[in-house]
Amino acid sequence: MKNKTKFLAILFACLLSSLMNAAAQDVETILNKVRAKLETVNDYEAVGEMKTNISFLKTANATVTVFFKRPNKLKIKNEQGISLVPKGSVSLSLNNLVSGKYQIIDGGKEKINGKEVAVIKLLPTDETTDVVLSTLYIDVESMLVVRARTTTRDNGTNELEMSYGRYAANALPDRVVFSFNTQEYKLPKGVTFDYDDGSAKKKTAETAKDKKGKIEIVYRTYKINKGIADAVFK
């Protein structure tokens, strides 16, 4: 009787272990497929329309050029004028998130916009990197990352939402929404000598509440794997 119980316990443990192993292999397979898609792109130069939504910043939509070069170089440039871009914008490229060495954790399944997505958490093995944790939400049908949440040491947690279209084969999104943390902006009135037109007080209250910023880029064109000089990223 005792032997039978022992045998059953061992069998159960083996089953559980193989199931867990299979799940781990499963998420690793998904991640590898995503990575394979991303690795078809060595560099790109994308032109798009950027919309900035930061509580203390009043700016118009701008045409920007986004440059990317493997392994982790990314630059947003506004050739026509001035755009204040978030410091953590390097996360705008998924290549930067999935390259490097990680411990992969299965985060289960979730639904985004009615579609089932696999949740995969990536813990960097290198403790010196700025990224502490990345969570990827992957559409397993298309093997595309539709959402990525990254926690960094210096810039807090930022989130990336992507929708795909013409460049889905290269895992390059048509539209990206990047949410990030911002600092509060305040200058003494004795320095600015502002004109009080009556709308200032309402604005201050709104500004104080919201410390999250958001930029949205709708890409018009991509030039993929045409080569980009390193000087562009300086």
Binding site: K58, A60, I82, P86, K87, Q183, L187, T192, D197
Partner: protein, 293 residues
Amino acid sequence: MWQLLKIELFKIFRKPRTYISFGAIAAMVLIVQVALKFDGRSYVEFILGSLQESLEIPFDKILNGYFICFVILNLLLIHIPLLIALVAGDAVAGEANMGTLRLLVTKPVSRTQLMLAKFLATTVYTAMLLAWMAFLSLLLSVLIFGTNDMIVARNDVVEVIQRNDVVWRYFAAFGYATVALTTVAALAFLLSVFAENSIGPIVSTISIVIVFTILSEMQIPMYDRTVKPYLFTSHMLAWKAFFYLKTDEDGTSIRGTIQNLPAIMRSLAILLAYIGLFLGTAILVFRKKDILT
């Protein structure tokens, strides 16, 4: 009237002290431009430094002619009233001091016409001073620093104005500033009627402007509701509102718009009312004045 105006303008521009103002403005503008040319980054860091942790600040692009001009106007438009008072305070009191006022009123022109001509000449001087300032601070800055989008740092908001949406705002701002400084000129002109030499009205005007400016800038709720809305110095700053843009529901700036145009128009009306009040009182007092000098 035209002849009278020409005579008054001749009197103003004959005096060396008139050119002190032009020289002082040129010196101040050049000092600021040289400082920002060599250490402008420190200034931008000072005003946008708190954003550096979360945003990438393109310092080189921000330091352009439009931004520099705004910095100069911000620094100088508070001090220009002193230069305006130098001439406006001398308009009537200077004649009294020199003993030419009695001779002047014996001419076959009404006292009202005489006062209007003097005030118009002072207004022309004010407009010329502003035009000189616009030339130096805008045109010269654009030549030295180039153009780009313009950053306006407010107390709790940063405005980014597209470069092709800037110039008309400066024209409007300089136009408004001319009215604002004419209010100071009208005050000095009024005080000038009561004095026998120009020192009194000049110092009095400067003192009033300083006290009112302090009251306008103090953040004390009691003054905010009672005193501040009626001080002309509170409304003199409305030139800045031409650089405050309207936004849509998403917070995106709308090109070619002004955040609160009715507020600017209200301030403009208040300043015009002050000019009317000061000038009207000056004419009224002068008409009844017993001129002994």
